[in-house]
Symmetry: C2
Subunit: 416 residues, 2 copies
């Protein structure tokens, strides 16, 4: 069969499964989540064997160590995946909830949450995303079409096969979760054209992946993740707090989207705070790329190029720049940021207030680390990604971001 027909049939199958899934009770969907957790744990040897195949091939192909680490499963990680499924059961299902009111005309209106329908997820070789994304979609009554990175294909096939088995065991359609096994670019591109069957595409992964999906997809896309985040140390900052937060925001987990990439420092405190920050970050061997004004204060710093201001390093690298005012800091951030997370360290009420008002980003912090931009930390209990767009959802996307709405109107013969 042609690849086009194969992917079309798979997406059509997901579409056909979606109305029944949309009407499934929370009880039934939770039973499916628990059954998936049960089967993944019971069949962990099958999953680990498939994962070993992927790891062996990746090793032969010289896949870098950090990607090997993301790809690798072990009993502990499978246990973690199962725990996440059980936690998801405890969250409130938004489907069917909403508001109701009666109009002067007599009609009674309910506005209730409904699933989006079929959600396509394009992601890289991270097997935890496979289960996590499908589970969040299932919890909200959406069918999922997964298309993961080629390095994880055997693992993904094992995981999806077990998820489908669990769906069938609780009386749901196995097509509620499906996997595109073609891992060429063509496979992903075809998924992006399936406007008749797929309601939304969510890319999860690198900035390059997200850009490729956004540029090529005819299916509506929710952009996630790209985070060129800044920390601005104001003239009035508590400098010890600035050091502590800079260290956390850069070094606790540099590869994630809510880590900072650029440190902006008011010129009047640069000489004092930068050596303190450099000293603390020495432990992590952070590379500093500085403008002319800040370079003298950091031993071993290199010159920043224009391109550094727009780069998401995802690594132990920090761009550093002095600014002469809050306005300059705000202008720099609004010029280079990706609309993700930005922070100011300040003791000034007015500067904090202006920073929050004028910075255009999903999350704007005063005196706290950008690392808090996360569905769990925000209290949503789960997260499908972090939206950096303004439409539909912005910031950490919990279950509500996977829903739409529907107006249900009841009358007794009312006309206009």
């Amino acid at each position: 069969m042609e690849l086009y027909d194969k992917i079309k049939n798979l997406c059509a199958g997901a579409k056909a499964a979606s109305p029944v899934l949309a009407r499934a009770s929370a009880k039934q969907k939770n039973a499916a989540l628990l059954k998936i957790a049960e089967l993944l744990w019971a069949e962990r040897e099958v999953i680990l064997a498939a994962n070993r195949q992927d790891l062996d091939r990746a090793g032969e192909n010289g896949v870098p160590a950090h990607m090997m680490d993301r790809l690798a499963l072990n009993e502990g990680r499978i246990s973690g995946i199962c725990d996440a499924l059980r936690e998801l059961v405890g969250l409130t299902d938004p489907i069917g909830s909403g508001e109701c009111w009666t109009r002067p005309s007599g009609i009674k209106i309910r506005c209730v949450r409904v699933p989006l329908g079929v959600i396509g997820i394009i992601f890289e070789a991270r097997p935890n995303v496979t289960v996590d994304a499908a589970a969040l979609c299932l919890k909200t009554g959406n069918a999922t079409v997964l298309r993961g990175g080629k390095e994880a294909i055997n693992t993904n096939m094992a995981l999806v096969s077990l998820m489908q088995k669990a769906l069938v065991e609780v009386g749901l359609d196995k097509n509620a979760v499906s996997l595109i096994t073609d891992t060429t670019h063509e496979g992903a591109n075809l998924l992006m054209q399936m406007t008749d069957y797929v309601d939304v595409l969510i890319p999860r992964g690198s900035a390059r992946l997200i850009r490729a999906v956004k540029e090529n997809s005819k299916v509506p896309v929710i952009e996630t993740g790209a985070g060129n985040c800044h920390l601005y140390v104001d003239e009035s900052a508590d400098l010890d707090m600035a050091v502590k937060i800079a260290l956390n925001a850069k070094c606790q987990r540099p590869a994630v989207c809510n880590a900072i990439e650029t440190l902006l420092v008011h010129e009047n405190v640069a000489a004092q705070v930068l050596p303190m920050i450099a000293e603390k970050m020495a432990e992590f061997k952070v590379e500093f790329r500085c403008d002319a004004a800040t370079k003298p204060y950091i031993p071993g710093a290199v010159d920043a190029a224009e391109s550094d201001w727009g780069t998401e390093y995802d690594d132990y690298i920090l761009a550093v720049k002095a600014v002469s005012s809050l306005d300059e800091a705000i202008d720099h951030i609004n010029k280079y940021n990706t609309g993700h997370s930005e922070a100011i360290i300040t003791r000034s009420y007015e500067n904090g207030r202006r920073f929050q008002q004028e910075i255009d980003a999903a999350a704007v912090y005063i005196n706290a680390s950008t690392r808090f931009t996360d569905g769990g930390e925000f209290g949503f209990g789960a997260e499908i990604g972090i939206s950096t767009q303004k439409m539909h959802a912005r910031g950490p996307m919990g279950l509500m971001a996977l829903t739409s709405q529907k107006y249900l109107i009841e009358g007794d013969g009312e006309i206009r």
Copy 2:
């Protein structure tokens, strides 16, 4: 100047105006709306003179009567536009409102509504849309780039010039509302590529216009309006109610998107209810396009073609089809509808419930006319259009649909 540069500069001007507008108080935005109403009324002769130019040219070009009617302004219509502006002042401004909570980590989170930024509106030759769309965007702190139909260009230039004068008089940037004066397709197409400056495009008008924008736009689009709406008369229906609602939904205002295009009738009541409906609709000279099963019951009916089931007539034409079950009605509607408004007339609790659950549309009615799908009728006070997509907004879009959100986080040095 090249057209590209002209439109780019105009959009860049709107973008530059948007942060200040985003921070404008409700009081200031309301002052602008009142000033616009004042100036439009004071300068009504200027507007009417421009409108006469447009009407004269349209008359020479043989523009059809119903389009001439949409294009025409008079004192009454200008007064209506001004009344709508004053009503908008009375609505609550959603900007800055939202929820707040504190997390165990100690961070305090506010999730507040913010403007989308710059909204592009592509519409046809309806001068009331010019003011209405700009006013709704202004009320929610969004800058607007308008691109109206060529037949209304003089009227639009007069209206936008007065709106800009009002903005300046209350201390706002005139670029908060601007008009693309090029009315070629090229002008609209360039607007659709301005991803650096325009956050959202909302097409308002015919299905053809909306499809063209959706297919060509790189800027995210909110689809509005196309309505292939159905009324299903169930076997258990109160037939007098069915007649009354069919008449209202088809004939009260056939050119609008929430009017019905197809009538589905359960085969067991077709012989009884169809002659009643045909009799009432005779007054409006409705043309009936029937399947074989229903044609005998309607004098003068013609045969429906397959294409009739997917056509939005926007006219005194009604497609009619018999179905043998609720399932067949639901399947037909889900196959041909545009996700707008659908209604069932029934006395059966179970059939009403299933219809509302299983029909995939923004608004699903039991025993009421589809004509109620409207921001005003739903109680939103104003409406920028009716979304037929599932992302961001679905159904009548009030002020909330013109907003996004932003998380404002306050801490005292919290780190992860």
